[in-house]
Symmetry: C2
Subunit: 369 residues, 2 copies
């Protein structure tokens, strides 16, 4: 294999690829204080993880025995670097490296593979379009820690793409998934379909710290509906809340119940903050909420397809990286803006950033801001 000049780390949550990985995945998830803060976490985290494991294994069994997120992330990475080699020959050859947060391949795996490939310039590319400290923030913190554990603090020069909530290519691809989703309804009824955008929720304590996520999700929704330019009503709701604390609403499940009670018959649910199918789409949106919808009288409950390996989305991924590389900037102006309420000193670091000075006067913040 020829030496890789530009290595792109595809950061995402990940999901268990097999049923055996479910419990280890949950153990890691519930141990991460950057995403979940529990009292007596060392004891309570494993307790909750082990208690939930059988049920979650059952959910994964229903969707084919594991999460397809690694397959899709690889397809996204492959499509992206092929395009980048054509679009940006000066930074080629490009390689991609998957870094999941709670299952393999993890940050260490990505870093070792990058070293083996002789990568010079590294780009940490979040696969979450909208920034949250609990997703992109946690992944980046872990990436830098992993580099420290491996003694690879100086191995690469880094820059990062930390958010892309309204990137034109992302919005174009998302809008196409909505259009495709709408074709599942009779043409005569298509304009009556309520479009229910659904994003993963966050505990209100995270919101109150000043997490950028709700603002950026709101912007993504607006950009999609503007581009869609259809008369369909739409609502943004938040899914997957767990545990006793209060989460950001409105809750997707409760919205579905209420829409049904009101006589809404057609609902298209659109995952606006995930790019690949995984348990929150295939199990929670499709099966769990689908059953709720059926019970409350929504006769046509459909979901728009995830971006997965759609060529238009691969184009968008390549374009986001190309635009980022062209700016020569190490990170967006927003990345260094810590949440006002944050008390985690690890946040918002960059290991060994490329040379450009973010604060250079008059520099526009760029398309990946």
């Amino acid at each position: 294999m020829s030496k890789v000049k530009t290595g792109i780390v595809m950061m995402n949550l990940g999901g268990p690829a097999s049923l055996d990985e479910v419990e280890p995945f949950l153990l890691e998830l519930f141990a991460d204080r950057e995403i979940i803060q529990l009292p007596f976490q060392r004891w309570l985290g494993p307790f909750i993880a082990r208690r939930r494991a059988p049920r979650v294994r059952g959910l994964y069994a229903q969707i084919g025995g594991g999460s397809p997120i690694l397959r899709y992330t690889r397809a996204q990475g492959q499509g992206m670097v092929e395009r980048l080699d054509r679009l940006s020959p000066e930074t080629a050859p490009h390689g991609f490296y998957v870094a999941f947060r709670y299952v393999q391949p993890k940050s260490e795996d990505a870093l070792r593979a990058m070293a083996a490939d002789g990568v010079e310039r590294a780009v940490a590319f979040t696969q979450y379009p909208q920034f949250s400290c609990s997703t992109t923030g946690s992944s980046l913190n872990e990436l830098w820690r992993a580099a420290g554990r491996l003694g690879m603090r100086d191995a690469f020069e880094w820059s990062l793409i930390d958010r892309w909530p309204v990137h034109h290519g992302f919005i174009a691809a998302m809008t196409e998934t909505v259009r495709e989703g709408l074709t599942q309804f009779d043409a005569a009824e298509r304009d009556r379909v309520l479009i229910l955008f659904s994003a993963h929720s966050l505990p209100l304590d995270v919101i109150d710290r000043g997490d950028a996520y709700p603002q950026e999700v709101g912007a993504s929704v607006q950009a999609v509906v503007e581009r869609l330019a259809r008369p369909n009503p739409y609502i943004l709701a938040f899914q997957s809340e767990v545990g006793p604390v209060r989460w950001l609403g409105p809750s997707t499940e409760r919205v579905i119940r209420r829409l049904g009670a009101r006589g809404q018959k057609q609902v298209l649910v659109v995952p606006i903050a995930f790019t690949s199918d995984h348990i929150e789409t295939l199990s929670e949106l499709d099966r769990e909420y689908g059953e709720v919808a059926h019970r409350v009288g929504i006769t046509q409950y459909k979901r728009s397809p995830a971006l997965n390996d759609r060529p238009q989305f691969l184009d968008a991924l390549a374009d986001i990286v190309r635009e980022h590389l062209a700016t020569g900037r190490p990170y967006s102006s927003q990345y260094r803006t810590r949440c006002p309420g944050c008390e985690n000193p690890q946040c918002r670091q960059v290991l060994k950033p490329i040379g450009a000075d973010l604060r250079a006067p008059g520099q526009p913040a760029g398309a990946t801001r």
Copy 2:
């Protein structure tokens, strides 16, 4: 005066024009169950209003003895109709009518004046860029009730402009206020200024019902920063929370405290959901939070100017109405989408809408969606 063909109702909260109007204003505000729901409201509302009145009178005394919102709304209306008469001669002459929610001129005043002017076609134009049931929703419900009380249910054919969170003219004008705000800082330090967008908060119960407001405010912020294209960090926070219930965060005041504690020296606060100066900008943002900022060590705390009667904003208002009239549609596709958790049967009505059918297939939703 020549007969007015198109009457445009400028709907807003309003504020007491003199100190004598403060208590009546608060009495009306705390009696409105569409904005505040209290136990034993008939008794507790007046109790709270009377108890707050002296302090609020003091605040109005500090900002010149009353709210300037009527003066600005009239200037906005005047500038808007002058432009519309030029831009849209086929719907001219245009007249504007102010309908405040809790002080005069109220909906009745607007409706009576419209009848006196011989208005044929009426447009209810919210002056809140982002839709919330507690602002635009409450104003519209009151407008229809007032028409009922006056026996004017059939007096006019109505259409309505219920939101314009990312209208290009509004975003252009807002972005200019931010640029102007930044000129208050030394050029050498301008890029370090943290831009703190601040919008009025809402109780979480309203959010959980499915109010569109946070999504639309998020979209406005994104549109402004994209257009601004500057490296400044920014945060969206929410102000003016009162009482014992939990409100949408992060709280503007708490964010200011935390920024100061962290050593942030320059902050520009930007009112993103108000179009005119009133007590929330002149007193709360400028004085109250200004004192907080000073105490926590923010050496330069400034506010961007409100849109008020800036010509660019008058252009935007005229453009929003012109585009709306050109669609021939009675309301945006979103207006009829009731909050999933709403239990107020009054919501989302239109008294006597103009003829076009919203559900006509394939109709784009238009710029004021």
